[in-house]
Amino acid sequence: MAETQSNGHGYVGTRTIRPDGVDKVTGRARFGADFNLPGQLIGRVLRSPHPHARIVAIDTSKAEALPGVKAVITRDDFADQPSEFIPAGEMMMNYKDVVRNVMAREKALYEGHAVAAVAATSAAIAKRALKLIDVTYEVLPHVIDVVEAMRPDAPVLHDDLFTAGVEPKPDKPSNIAKRVEIVLGDIEAGFAKADVVVEREFKTAPVHQGYIEPHAALATVSEDGSAELWCCTQGHFIVRAHCARLLGLDIARIRVTASEIGGGFGGKTVVYLEPLALALSRKAKRPVKMVMSREEVFKASGPTSGATVRVKMGATRDGKFVAGFAELKYQAGAFQGSPVQPGVMCAYAPYDMENVKVIGYDVVSNRPKVAAYRAPGAPISEFAVESVVDEIAKKLGLDPIELRMMNAAREGTKAAYGPKFGPIGLEETLNSIKKTEHWNTPLRKWQGRGVASGFWFNIGGETCVSLTVNEDGTVSLMAGTPDIGGLRASLAMIAADELSVEYDKVRPIIGDTGSLGFNFLTGGSRSAFSGSMAVVEAAKQIKADCCARACKLWDLKPEQVAWERDRVRPIGDVADKAKPMSIADFAKVAGKTGGPIVGYGRLNAQGAGPSLGTHLVDLEVDPETGRVTILRYTVAQDAGRAIHPAYVEGQFQGGAVQGIGWALNEEYVYGADGKLQNAGFLDYRMPVASDVPMIDAILVEVANPKHPYGVRGVGETPIVPPLGAIANAMENATGIRFTELPMSPPKVLKALKEQGVTAK
């Protein structure tokens, strides 16, 4: 066969209507809580009222005796698991901890920790049954804050947790799970060359992913141990793996269907209800449906870490960064596994620096186990670094964009965390921000402007996609990564272009775990990147297959036939011998030429290029109340190649607004009793529509050479720069460097007062 080349309709780069769109605007799309089965029971979870308590005994007899209760489960229904680390999104998890997080064993480690679950014929009965479960707790002292948890006299959560990564191995358990470090060059030598050194300590509050759809699962287990599960997850293959492990089932016996998913942002990469629903169903021999309340989502599902970060940076008089040090202390929640590692790696990644040292600590405390949240770990450390960069600019009297430009990582830069970068687009984003009208508009008193850049690696990973050419020439596309924000549209566009069929003729679906080979989850901004690579691969197979069929039909040799532009053609001196055939033409003769036409793209995608971005924000401070209003916002980010520009812009805009929430008002508020006080949307203050302006999105496209279309992941980077950009704008507006998030009105007003910055 001669070389194949693609040149289809050119859908890539256009704003098509998403294939799943009509179902989503009509209410037809089925999300996690929208599935029901005949005879289903309702499952509910009993949760610990204490932040830290030994579970002495659990008596379920009264609940079991309540008419309508069909099953009650506790720690006794799950076998213990050995300690073993496995990748979960961009983070690591340990089955020993997973089994304890889904159902408390020796101790309840946070308020809201699951202690038992019931399945009953109605929600009301299930609720009543929970009240009949007698749990005897021995309440223990608790610790919430990361710095307090690190103190030698802090209450210890796990007697078998000894800090990893320090020599010699500690002889006493502590809440410090591990210490990590990256070093590049010689930090001391670097500081010795510095003309200015800025050192600051920062603090950030834990924030929740805030997806609008609560966790939901519907499970049915039959007597032979075959199980079906419908749930809203970012990775149904991962759910299958976890559930098989926790329930001792064969992977092949569990079939998981990912429902439409109402947001995840990393928070739906782990299991909570799924194993409980399966265990209840196995016991009750009936389907069990479980849905979390919003309060449960806040109290028992993963927020991201709160952290304390110390940054020290040195630069020469003319602005060259010569040394960067940082020490990060991240909350992991009740079990180890905070995103401190990526936080460490990303801290200085946007910059070309010779001397970097970053140390990180992963610290457990009595709050829910953190889960990934969009670029996990990176916003925290980069917020601190971007704030210090701004301060250096001010000290040196340099323009903050110029300073960043001068130090920007570019192709060939060796990152402190290891690799040499390929082509990356930080400079382009800085340039395009500089050219905006926004950057050049004057500001009034009490208004401020801030800029910050951000970096995220992106990942690839195991991916499997099938493409089937149907009898009428239409194409069925099946992917195995849940579509959170337009993935099906992007994959269908690539397939249409590759096979030269109309976009409307490609119907993409997300297949269940029985329909495709293993797919890693939707996370790490990988789905469009690796999914499209798999589509290209599958399409390549189809085109090769069609060429082979054409050889037979036309009685030509492989080298006399090729896919050119939009169809298979006879080429060279036989070019006139046969009429070229499109995919639709092959569909008609598929039966006669060898049967179904199917391509199967499977790969472990590599080469996800990092995506860098720069954000620009204007805000206004009310000096009398400390209230901050975001006036204007511009995002510029490198998308490599935007398959569907509108959905890429949407990622930029959504990430920016999440970042605004993180910077200004979102936080977990704990009382002295270790209980969460704001477990609802009224007091966990995510931005509402009237809080934010339009978010201008500038697509920068520096092609990723490792991807056939130049694509990079775009979903996570947008949440990295807002924290720093807003803090820098606050400094610009008030002259005060805010180092603690959120910059909520009481804090702002206090700082204004303390610094003597007043309205009058």
């Binding site: 704003r15 209507i17 998403r18 799943d20 769109g21 009509v22 989503k24 605007v25 009509t26 209410g27 037809r28 799309a29 089925r30 999300f31 809580a33 929208d34 009301a124 992913q209 805030g210 997806y211 609008i212 759809e213 609560p214 439409e260 998913i261 109402g262 947001g263 995840g264 942002f265 849905v291 309340s293 919003r294 959170i484 924000g485 337009g486 569907h644 509108a646 959905y647 812009e649 949407g650 990622q651 805009q653 959504g654 990430g655 920016a656 607004v657 999440q658 609802g680 949307f681 009224l682 995510m686 931005p687 509402v688 529509a689 009237s690 934010v692 339009m694 978010i695």
Partner: protein, 158 residues
């Protein structure tokens, strides 16, 4: 005590159902009438995913009891499209990519229709304040506002 027997109109259809006092209209719509287009994001009036209109008035169906709606007219997302044709708001949400995950979309559409029925030419600010009770965590609201404005323009042209 016995369940309440309620007769009401949902999307123009007469319906009757039985419910307990504590069941909300959202529970009834989703679990009894199997209209799962209205979503539960919070069950406490904070997210707007459950938005419906009750005698033309926009409300959170999670904050209305099922037994309250006897004799009343309820419109849900399932009643927005007119026959085979999508409502202009639905079309514009698709064209502007005003949804990512789509869980908030039914609520936004129902709320936006209620706005456009009262104000055929809303400003950005009016749109944002009217929709402040509808949370969206994915889009940052930008494309939603654009879609509503564009739909308003289409509707004005008739």
């Amino acid at each position: 005590m016995a369940k309440h027997h309620v007769e009401a109109t949902v999307n123009g259809d007469a319906v009757e159902f039985l419910c307990e006092t504590e069941e909300t209209l959202l529970d009834v719509l989703r679990d009894t009438l199997h209209l799962t287009g209205s979503k539960e994001g919070c069950a406490s009036g904070d997210c707007g995913a459950c938005s419906v209109t009750l005698d033309g008035r926009l409300v959170c169906s999670c904050l209305v009891l099922g037994c309250e709606v006897g004799g009343r007219r309820i419109e849900t997302i399932e009643g927005l499209a007119e026959g085979e044709a999508l409502h202009p708001l639905q079309k514009k949400f698709l064209e502007h990519a005003a949804l990512q995950c789509g869980i908030c979309t039914p609520g936004f559409l129902v709320a936006s229709r209620a706005l456009l029925e009262r104000n055929s030419n809303p400003t950005d600010t009016e749109i944002r304040y009217w929709l402040a009770g509808n949370l969206c965590r994915c889009t940052g609201y930008d494309k939603i506002v654009s879609a509503v404005k564009d739909a308003a323009a289409t509707l004005r042209k008739g």
